[in-house]
């Protein structure tokens, strides 16, 4: 199976990428294999939610506020105050909330998944599971990845709501905007596909965060230090991938879906 390994610059990186993709495909296939690990799934959802909800809420309020403040002063200068609400909603829902969600899913959820799987790997629990005829991908990785996706979806909704409320509060209360204009402009610029792309992004980010965390967790360098390094790497790799994917998705979306006001 392991044929003589070619060594040219970047070969290792290519190999790792290939394996990461292979794990992604394995997870996709194992998702539909019976029996589905319901209990593990629920436990993981609960766990990931519990480590991410509070930080997400705390991050999204100032995030919404910053966007509202920035846009508020900008729109005032160009005399388009009536669009403040719509612009901040667009910015929050399309960009800010999937990114905030991704950062927290990767930073809080993914690192926990990676550390958990990594310590199981070096304690040979994963090997033991394979030997007992149970696939760790189906048993452990699938529930975690699905949980990361689901929680990502929910968190994204939460960030949107909290962020918009924060924006409203800052715009109306702090900057003296009119509530009516803020709300009215909602429907002027924002449209339903904005929400869809936001949720699709969150789903995809949850998937990537879960897969990368699981991959690094299942293949750590030997020893406890290996697990620490793996967690570190998994967070960094996830961030890189997420921002890249976010860019690509945004570009595609802006091409495909026509803006409401042109």
């Amino acid at each position: 199976m392991s044929s003589p390994t070619p060594s040219f610059p970047g070969a290792a990186a290519l190999r790792e990428t290939g394996r990461l993709f292979a794990l992604g495909i394995d997870v996709g296939r194992a998702t539909f294999k019976r029996p589905f690990q319901v209990r593990e799934f629920i436990q993981q959802c609960w766990f990931i939610a519990s480590v991410t909800i509070l930080p997400t809420a705390l991050v999204s309020i100032p995030f919404g506020a910053v966007i509202a403040l920035q846009l508020g002063s900008l729109t005032k200068q160009i005399g388009a105050q009536s669009f403040t609400g719509a612009a901040s909603v667009l910015a929050i829902i399309q960009q800010a909330s999937p990114i905030v969600t991704a950062l927290l899913i990767a930073g809080a959820g993914g690192s926990a998944i990676c550390a958990d799987l990594g310590s199981r790997t070096i304690r040979e629990e994963i090997d033991a599971m394979r030997v007992l005829g149970v696939s760790p991908v189906q048993r452990l990785v699938v529930p975690r990845v699905l949980a990361a996706m689901l929680v990502g979806l929910l968190l994204n909704g939460m960030v949107s709501v909290v962020g918009v409320l924060g924006g409203y509060f800052f715009n109306v209360v702090m900057q003296g905007g009119t509530p009516g204009a803020y709300l009215a402009s909602f429907s002027a610029l924002a449209q339903l596909p904005d929400l869809w792309i936001s949720e699709i992004k969150a789903l995809l980010f949850g998937f990537i965060a879960g897969i990368v965390a699981a991959y690094r967790g299942l293949n750590p360098a030997p020893g406890p230090k290996g697990v620490g390094d793996a967690v570190n790497q998994s967070v960094v790799i996830t961030f890189l991938l997420l921002f890249l994917v976010n860019f690509v998705l945004t570009a595609i979306y802006l091409q495909v879906v026509p803006p409401k006001v042109s």
């Binding site: 199976m1 392991s2 310590s119 199981r120 304690r123 040979e124 629990e125 090997d127 033991a128 599971m129 394979r130 030997v131 007992l132 005829g133 149970v134 696939s135």
Partner: protein, 397 residues
């Protein structure tokens, strides 16, 4: 009956570090084999290769005609169900208590009710003397207890091939003796093929049918126990006697100069005694059937007797009982077999089966007379009750 494991020309390396090269051996069906070797020679790596956790670069591992190194993932999972593996550190699931750990394979692979699972698990826990610790987490028990729990988990599905990585390390001498007896009894009852990796010389001398030794990236020797126990190979002699002087050094690769200096000069340390030589093998606890593996092995060894070194040959002949001598057509006291057992083994075996058939007597039912009570009860705790005997049927479900 157990399954034969054939290893042909296996080589494994990690990056540029070769672990072992060109290892060929056969674990005969239903026999117990022991693999010895200094620390770090890749015994654990060998066991992991046997279950397909590591993929050797070259060679074959044949089980039921399937090459483990080259079969599909799903086939591999299928074949792994034949195995019970005890890892060096027990490899228990840290998030489950001992009961759930031992019950895990049953819950995954059978459709047993909780009551049945409970009965089987408690039986195995009793077998390894862990009753009362079921609710503890692996982090809360001693290393020896983890090891025994790992063994209970490995045995819970009545595997056909049992691999044990240092089952005796971390165990006290009494438990090690119990463990040796347990493995022998287990083999007598389910006729599983067993491979034990160990550093314990007593286990190596009394338990196995076959002995092997890994050293310096090679399989130095593998064959009937008599062969290694009487060997003149300096590595084997040093290892079995636990001597400091010899080819095995701290760094595993002693250089020639150091070896020469040792041989020429100082002999420090406690006086050395030679513990080589063949000691009788452990027998199953009275009341259990005879080990079919041992009988098959005897036939095999007698057939290939001429291929063994003289000392080993003498050892084999000395260990024969009068019954054996009659069977192999030898006159008592005369050296070579007159009519070697050239007849097919299957034709011979029936006469060797115990009169009461295959089924093991239920524990306690075959109890000896009361005067014998105490020691037997001790061993009885380790006895392998075949209570969940119909598990294999449920496994495919």
């Amino acid at each position: 009956m157990g399954v034969e494991v054939v290893v042909e020309g296996l080589s494994k390396s990690f990056g540029s570090q070769a672990i072992w090269r060109d290892v060929s051996l056969t674990l005969p069906a239903g026999e117990i084999s022991v693999l010895l070797g200094p620390s770090g020679t890749g015994k654990s790596v060998f066991l992991k290769s046997l279950v397909g956790l590591l993929t050797p670069e070259r060679g074959k591992i044949l089980i039921n005609g399937v090459d483990l190194c080259r079969c599909s993932e799903s086939k591999l999972y299928e074949i792994r169900k034949l195995f019970g593996v005890l890892f060096q550190d027990g490899a228990l699931f840290g998030s489950m208590n001992l009961f759930d750990n031992v019950a895990f394979p049953l819950r995954e692979h059978t459709r047993k009710t909780e009551a049945e699972i409970r009965r089987i698990v408690l039986e195995k826990m009793e077998m390894v003397e862990l009753v009362g610790a079921e609710r503890k987490l692996p982090g809360e028990i001693s290393g020896g207890m983890r090891k025994r729990a790992g063994l209970a988990r490995a045995l819970v599905l009545d595997p056909e091939i049992i691999l044990c990585d240092e089952p005796d390390s971390g165990l006290d001498p009494v438990r090690t003796a119990n463990l040796s007896q347990l493995l022998i009894d287990l083999n007598a009852q389910i006729d599983a093929t067993i491979l034990i990796v160990t550093h314990n010389i007593t286990v190596a001398r009394t338990v196995p049918d076959n002995l092997g030794m890994l050293f310096r990236r090679e399989l130095v020797m593998f064959g009937p126990r008599e062969m290694l126990l009487t060997s003149d190979n300096p590595v084997v002699v040093q290892f079995i006697n636990g001597r400091r002087v010899g080819p095995i050094g701290m760094s595993e690769e002693k250089d020639q100069a150091a070896v020469a200096a040792e041989l020429a000069g100082h002999q420090s340390g406690p006086p050395d005694e030679d513990v080589r030589g063949i000691v009788p093998q452990l027998e199953p606890t009275p009341g259990l059937p005879r080990r079919q593996g041992a009988l098959r092995r005897k036939d095999r060894v007698m057939r290939d007797l001429h291929a063994l070194p003289a000392a080993a040959r003498q050892g084999v002949l000395d260990s024969l009982t009068d019954e054996d001598r009659a069977r192999y057509g030898m006159l008592a006291g005369v050296g070579a077999p007159v009519a070697p057992a050239a007849q097919p083994v299957s034709a011979v075996v029936p006469e060797w089966q115990p009169r009461h058939g295959h089924l093991p007597a239920p524990p306690g039912a075959a109890g000896p007379d009361p005067s014998d009570q105490r020691p037997v009860r001790r061993r009885g705790r380790w006895r392998f009750g075949r209570g969940g005997g119909n598990q294999r049927g449920g496994r495919s479900a």
